[in-house]
Subunit: 372 residues, 2 copies
Amino acid sequence: MSAIGLEEMETPRLVIDMERMARNIDAMAELARARGVKLRPHAKTHKLPSVAHAQLEAGAAGITVAKVSEAEVMAAHGIPDIFIAYPLVTESKLARALRLAERIDLTVGADSLAGARLADASAARHGWPLKVRLEIDTGLSRTGVPYAQAEELAAEIARLPHLRLTGIYTFRGALLDGKPTRDLAAAGAQEGTLMARLAERLRAQGIPVADVSVGSTPTAAHAAAVPGVTEIRPGTYVYQDRMQAGFGVCGMADCAGSVLVTVVSLPAPDLAIVDGGSKTFATDVQPGTAPLHLQGFGQVVGYEDAWLARMTEEHGMVQLGPVAQAAGLRVGDRLRIVPNHICSTVNLHNQVWMQRGDRYEAHPILARGLLE
Amino acid sequence: MSAIGLEEMETPRLVIDMERMARNIDAMAELARARGVKLRPHAKTHKLPSVAHAQLEAGAAGITVAKVSEAEVMAAHGIPDIFIAYPLVTESKLARALRLAERIDLTVGADSLAGARLADASAARHGWPLKVRLEIDTGLSRTGVPYAQAEELAAEIARLPHLRLTGIYTFRGALLDGKPTRDLAAAGAQEGTLMARLAERLRAQGIPVADVSVGSTPTAAHAAAVPGVTEIRPGTYVYQDRMQAGFGVCGMADCAGSVLVTVVSLPAPDLAIVDGGSKTFATDVQPGTAPLHLQGFGQVVGYEDAWLARMTEEHGMVQLGPVAQAAGLRVGDRLRIVPNHICSTVNLHNQVWMQRGDRYEAHPILARGLLE
């Protein structure tokens, strides 16, 4: 692939500033080293084997994915240690995971006895043990065994002969006592403490728990500081985004991801229409949602009072405040917009344009759209 | 491609019921014939040349797309008549459009004098006239010249020597007097009337306006009934969806698109977690948004009180009412969920599985992710 200059760039295109990305990768690796925990980044954010390799080179112990199909692509591109942080509950997915486990160090999630028994039966048929971690619900109410039932389920899974229960994991993001919060120190401490205490109780029952895995970009630093936590799994940090800047985890100048767009219409002094809408920018982190109450779906770089206020599928309605209006935008001008949520924005694009200085190079997002 | 049975299907997968799709295609073609207007479906919904061909075979006069890159793919697969309903305002996109216009019947959008002059200059350099339609803002406040300024701009564009101004077009969806509405008859009548009157005024000035193009799936039937309207451009109708059923445009039994998912966890009696979240189901039509106030992001087929209530990226939280709870779901069971908005949901998937009876066949969504 050959790099091109800005003047050759079409729009809309997703751009990643490689210097910022490298700084983000190093900063989280250093944080994990300083806290004495393993770093296992979630690849959901970038979905790119090349970025996963950069994370491993900086010190990550392995990577995390959500789907078997993502693990297959990452393994095919040389990633040797993968945790599928998702309960696998069907024979076909377990068979695919077991085939992968022949070639790489693979661990999968489990959160129910039904799923664990099926995994055990699959591993028995396959003639190969399967490493599993038990997922714990620490307040997000999605997957994960309810916290109060975790000891009983762990004991049952530990008895299944073809599974190796290696640890416990949770995800809950910026949550405190079940509610969205900006108090990341308290959220991370609670998350880490819940998990470390559970691990101790399991060990007291004779269940070996090597891995106590927590964390998300907002809570990683605080959860990792809790004694007994052994691993963090942040994803977003690699690119950072407006949501993380809102949490104070990073500054806007740390956001490596933005979308280059063109102003296609200026129907009113306070309104610019750009050529990217809800098929270009994610809509899962809505304006106004607690705890951040972000204004709009994205921030225009260099115009402090310009936001991506509304979208239809291919149109972005940028609201221009007085400062932005004074800049005198014209039809055909280009803007860069930092999205609220980079992970789901990356997922909309077929390729990412890696920027180094004033050169841009396209990289197909190999694991994009791999849902299975 | 060979078809497979349901038992071989992985999840999550986007499924289109081909019988329902065929009925939807025929119904809209019949509506256009009955009203005496041309049908130019927006391909944004399916992004598939094969479906576009089916629409043409049923009587559509051509297709609509939003992006040059979509037009290129559709043209490469034999679609002979395409309207890019989007203002092209950069030399590179205009050059691509002009190259396409050598091979197919192509029309592009314009909504500013700056854009039209650039298009005129590009066409002059290319030595080939470019057909344009003027986009009119009839209340949605996105692209489109403000209604009151349309006559002046149309006159200026009509004087540009290398452009051929062939008509006017608008899009506003279910809007009445600038506000979201469920009164589709009034919305469509207003939309059609605004456009037909403008066309008359332009013709009175000596500007030839052949095409008066309106419409969206919710308003098509009503806008098409207004004398002077010549064309409708609905998109969603091909698959229909929960939003359209909410408008009363179709029934849930007309929705051709659904996502097949697996229950991966049952942490509480009223909560099932499925293996599709905001990377599988679109989030642009949020629960509770006016005018429909839909409950959740999708409806579970066959369980009247089960909705996709919350999502994270790869997890769907299905809220189970008493009827659904009584069904006794188990981990590993499969559900079908009809999304609120099929267009943006299709856009998340790399392939669609076309279902005929109990056989499923994968079709890559060729124009997916083509944003340029």
